[in-house]
Structure formats: structure tokens, C-alpha cells
């Protein structure tokens, strides 16, 4: 059952989402014991199987709505599967949205505590990396100012700096690096590369083809919730470009 630290196993993972406004259903429907008619659920993941060994770097690409983000959220343990199996060993750190859960009235420093706590760290563990995080974020004296006064770039820098210092076995990154300025993006990439060199598993979702090619040795192409390609990055990206270049189906 237990996957090794940094290992990821996804077996026949299937997950559908209702696309109605009231996803949970209303009390009225519960009491009447039936569901009002509405659009059918969308299958975001449709039998996805992936086996990622510790230290591997995997890029997930695909058109909008292909199931990339859903895959990451399943791997992060945020949403459960309808069917199939997911195992992710060790400490999985998701950068699904930088600065998610920041308290806007809190200073950067307080948000570091809050965010570390969200990842299950205790106070001494967070304070041990506090200075490194502040340093990395390049926020300087802004670290003691409420984050609602931050620019979006500062916000993202702090978010990444925190996630980068969380001692992950697996990093899940969802299209979040595009926001900082170029210098900071390079710094983030360097940080990720260093983590990978240190044996961290990386799963990256991005539309930035060159970023995927630079950071990932393996590419998974998703479409309609299914794996269409799984293999070396160069071939995978070629496959991806081909499939995006050709108008596939009338629904596209």
C-alpha cells in the first residue's frame, strides 16, 4: 500500500465533476429524493494510470480542460477519486496556487507561519527556515507589511519562497511560475532544478513548452481525461505540438 517517499502511483484514476452551479445539490432535492435535470457530469479523469518513480521529473501538458489540474489536485490529496487508486509517498507539496490562503491583513512574516502550518509544520520548523524564505522572496522590509499592500509579483514571490522551503519529497506545480519577473522566474527554475538534483520528484503542469522541455525528462499528454502519450520529453512535446496543430474533432 504505502508508496515510497517521492513515489506516485495513479491506477485507473477516474473522477467526474458536476458542472452545475449547486454542485452539492440543494436540500429540496435531498428531501424530494431526486436530482433535478441538468448537464451531465464531466469526466475530468477517465482511467488515468501513471507510475512515477522517486526523483523523476514529469511534465503534464494538454489543452484546456484536459484534466491536468484535476490530476494534480488528486495527487495532492485535495479531491478524492470516484474510482481507481492514488498513492503519493512522503511529503507532497503542492504549488497549485501561490499565496492560496494568505490572510490579507497579515504581514508577510505571519503568512509564512500560517502557510507553513497549512503544510503541517510546527512553529520551530517554520522559524528555522524563516530567514531563508524572507531572503529568497527578496521582499526586504516589506515582509512586515500586510500582504494586501503587495503587488501581485510580490505575492507570488512570497508564495513560491514558502513552498520552496518546505522539504518536499514531491513538488506539484501548476502553472504558477509565469507571474514573477524574469529574474525571479529564473531563480525559481534554479531552485526547482536544485531540488530535482537533490532527488525530489517533480510534476509540472504548464503551457510553456520550453519550460517543460528544460525541466522535465518525461512528458504526459492528457486529452479528455485520458493519457494520450507518456514518454521522453522531446517526443512528448512533438506529439503535443502535432496534436494541438491539427484541429481534433468539431468540439475543439
Amino acid at each position: 500500500m504505502a508508496a515510497a517517499a517521492g513515489e506516485i502511483v495513479l491506477k485507473d484514476a477516474t473522477r467526474a465533476f458536476s458542472v452545475r452551479a449547486d454542485r452539492g445539490g440543494t436540500l429540496k432535492e435531498l428531501l424530494l429524493g431526486r436530482r433535478a435535470a441538468g448537464p451531465a457530469p464531466i469526466r475530468a479523469l477517465d482511467g488515468v494510470s501513471l507510475s512515477i518513480t522517486p526523483g523523476e521529473t514529469v511534465g503534464i501538458v494538454g489543452r484546456n480542460g484536459a484534466g491536468k489540474s484535476s490530476t494534480l489536485r488528486v495527487l495532492a490529496g485535495i479531491i478524492p477519486l470516484d474510482a481507481g487508486r492514488v498513492e503519493a509517498g512522503g511529503n507532497v507539496v503542492g504549488l497549485l496556487e501561490l499565496g492560496a490562503g494568505f490572510g490579507r491583513d497579515f504581514s508577510g512574516r505571519e503568512n509564512i507561519l500560517l502557510n507553513g502550518a497549512l503544510h503541517g509544520l510546527d512553529k520551530p520548523a517554520i522559524e528555522a527556515v524563516m530567514d531563508a524564505i524572507i531572503d529568497f522572496s527578496e521582499l526586504g522590509s516589506f515582509i512586515d507589511v500586510p500582504v494586501k499592500t503587495y503587488s501581485s509579483g510580490m505575492f507570488v514571490r512570497l508564495g513560491f519562497a514558502i513552498a520552496a522551503h518546505l522539504a518536499a519529497d514531491t513538488l506539484l506545480i501548476d502553472e504558477v511560475l509565469a507571474v514573477g519577473d524574469e529574474a525571479f522566474q529564473r531563480k525559481c527554475e534554479a531552485r526547482i532544478a536544485a531540488a530535482v538534483a537533490g532527488g525530489v520528484t517533480l510534476v509540472l503542469v504548464s503551457h510553456d513548452a520550453s519550460l517543460v522541455e528544460r525541466t522535465c525528462e518525461r512528458v504526459v499528454v492528457l486529452d479528455g481525461g485520458r493519457v494520450h502519450f507518456d514518454g521522453p520529453a522531446a517526443e512528448g512535446m512533438a506529439f503535443y505540438h502535432r496534436s494541438m496543430g491539427t484541429p481534433v474533432g468539431a468540439s475543439a
Binding site: 449547486d22 440543494t26 436540500l27 489536485r73 490529496g77 492560496a100 490562503g101 490572510g103 502550518a117 497549512l118
Partner: protein, 289 residues
């Protein structure tokens, strides 16, 4: 205030760290282990809850105490002076002791109901024990409750001369009140995430419930019929909690054994049921909020 809330939880956690064996089994079942790992998160959530509410206001945290006091003054004016239904000695004290308990209960539930939706961005993007969100709401209310109760309690005991050994039972009753409310708050919050009618239903229900609770009156003073009295005294689950606190502070006697047993059992049932319901429904929270 944050410190007090954290201290309160520390007591509970200490209990969990050096637990009797039946408790560790129960804890396993309640998945408290996850909660333990995230206890620092819980502190941070409380801090956040406190901060976000009254950030930038001149009185700041004092609003937590001012609001209940103003409300109590208003009710006293209404029922103690204008309508003068006072049938008890020192009616303002009689009323306030009951009112404090009710306000903790109702404010906790009203605050907890939308709490998961309010923190939706967090729930959708990070993995952490979701119960910390409603639990932080209730814990913040608990600290307010203790602060206001301390004020009201000291005045009541001093004025009525009701200092007695019964005061030793107060921590037990307060802990039971906390557990009872926490259990209901967990249930209400997770239900509201799925069914958005829950919070409106709750706030509609709380008003008549308030007037049917023995806050302004003693059931045995206003009603003769045994069945109706039984309903007011025992079917309403909040009534024994109010009665217990009032017996200790206002009357200076220990609550009856029946009341104490009721309070402890109701707390245990509410907490276990609330946690079970939450555990059952929380899987889909990232999708529904």
C-alpha cells in the same frame, strides 16, 4: 485572547498526549491524530479568525466583549424594565447568566455555518484537516464566552453571595458546553457547504429557539403542565446547559445530577456525531465549496 484560546486547546491536547487507553482508541476512530499534527495550524487559524474580524477597528478585539454586553443591556431594558416580567430576584443577573450561555451557542453556530465557504480558496488549494476551520470559529467564541462569563460571574457571585463549592463544577460544565457546541458546529458547517439552505434555516430557527430557552424565565414558573415543562427543560438541548451554569453562578448550588449527566452525555453525543458526519462528508469539500 489568542493566547487564551491556544491555552484552552493545549489543555485538550495534553490530555490527548497522555491519554487513557480507551481514549487513544476513540481518538483513532475520530482521526484526531491528523488534528494533532496540525495543532500549530489550529493556533494560526484562531489568530486569523480573530484578526480578520475586527482588523482596523479602533476597539479591535474588545468588540468581542462589547457586543455581548450591549446586547445584554438591551434585553434587560426590554424585559427587565419596559415589560417588567421580572419574577426572579436580581433579575438582570438571572437574565445575563443565561444570555451569555445562549450567545456563545448561537454565535458559534452562526459563525461556523458559512465558515467553510468563506475559506473556500484555502480548501480548494491546500490539504489540511478541514475541521480546524469551524473549530477555530467555536474556539474564538469560547474565549469571548469565558471572558464575558467571568465578568458576569464575578458580579453575580459577589452581589448575590453565591460563592460556594459548586463553583468547582463550572469548568466541567463549560468544557461540556464547548464540546456540545463544537459537535453541532462541525455538523452545521459541513452540511451548509453541501446544502446552502442550512445557514438560513439555522438563523431562522435560532430566534424562536432563543425565546423558548429558559433565558428570561424558569420553565417551572411559567407553565404548570408537566409535558410542556418537560419539553422546555429537557427536549431543548440547550436548556440544561443554561440551567447548569445558572445553578452554579446565580443560585450558588450544584446542578442536579440529572442536569450534569444530561450535559456530559449531550456533549459526548454531539461531538462524536458531529465529527462522524464531518468525516463522512469532508472528502468532497474541495469540490463543493
Amino acid at each position: 485572547m489568542t493566547g487564551a484560546a491556544c491555552a484552552l486547546m493545549r489543555v485538550i491536547w495534553t490530555f490527548e498526549h497522555t491519554p487513557p487507553s480507551w481514549w487513544s482508541e476513540a481518538r483513532q476512530w475520530l482521526a484526531m491524530a491528523d488534528f494533532l499534527r496540525f495543532r500549530f495550524l489550529f493556533e494560526q487559524m484562531i489568530r486569523r479568525e480573530l484578526r480578520q474580524k475586527y482588523q482596523g477597528s479602533a476597539l479591535g478585539l474588545a468588540w468581542y466583549v462589547v457586543n455581548p454586553l450591549v446586547l445584554m443591556g438591551a434585553y434587560y431594558l426590554m424585559f427587565g424594565v419596559v415589560f417588567d416580567v421580572a419574577s426572579e430576584d436580581d433579575y438582570p443577573l438571572f437574565l445575563m447568566v443565561g444570555l451569555v450561555v445562549w450567545m456563545f451557542f448561537s454565535q458559534s453556530l452562526l459563525g461556523a455555518a458559512p465558515s467553510l465557504l468563506d475559506q473556500g480558496s484555502l480548501i480548494r488549494k491546500a490539504r489540511f484537516p478541514r475541521e480546524t476551520i469551524p473549530a477555530a470559529v467555536v474556539s474564538v467564541q469560547m474565549v469571548t464566552f469565558c471572558a464575558v462569563l467571568a465578568l458576569v460571574g464575578i458580579v453575580t457571585v459577589a452581589f448575590r453571595g453565591t460563592a460556594s463549592l459548586a463553583l468547582g463544577l463550572l469548568p466541567l460544565v463549560l468544557a461540556a458546553t464547548y464540546a456540545f457546541t463544537l459537535g453541532l458546529a462541525l455538523a452545521v458547517s459541513v452540511l451548509h457547504a453541501y446544502f446552502r439552505d442550512v445557514a438560513p434555516i439555522l438563523s431562522a430557527a435560532l430566534l424562536p429557539w432563543f425565546f423558548l430557552s429558559p433565558i428570561f424565565f424558569r420553565p417551572d414558573r411559567i407553565i404548570e403542565e408537566p409535558a410542556a415543562r418537560f419539553v422546555l427543560e429537557w427536549v431543548n438541548p440547550v436548556a440544561p446547559f443554561i440551567e447548569a451554569v445558572r445553578a452554579i453562578l446565580y443560585s450558588g448550588v450544584a446542578p442536579s445530577l440529572a442536569t450534569l449527566a444530561y450535559v456530559v452525555i449531550a456533549a459526548a453525543v454531539a461531538l462524536v456525531a458531529g465529527r462522524a458526519l464531518f468525516a463522512r462528508l469532508q472528502g468532497e469539500l474541495a469540490v463543493v465549496v
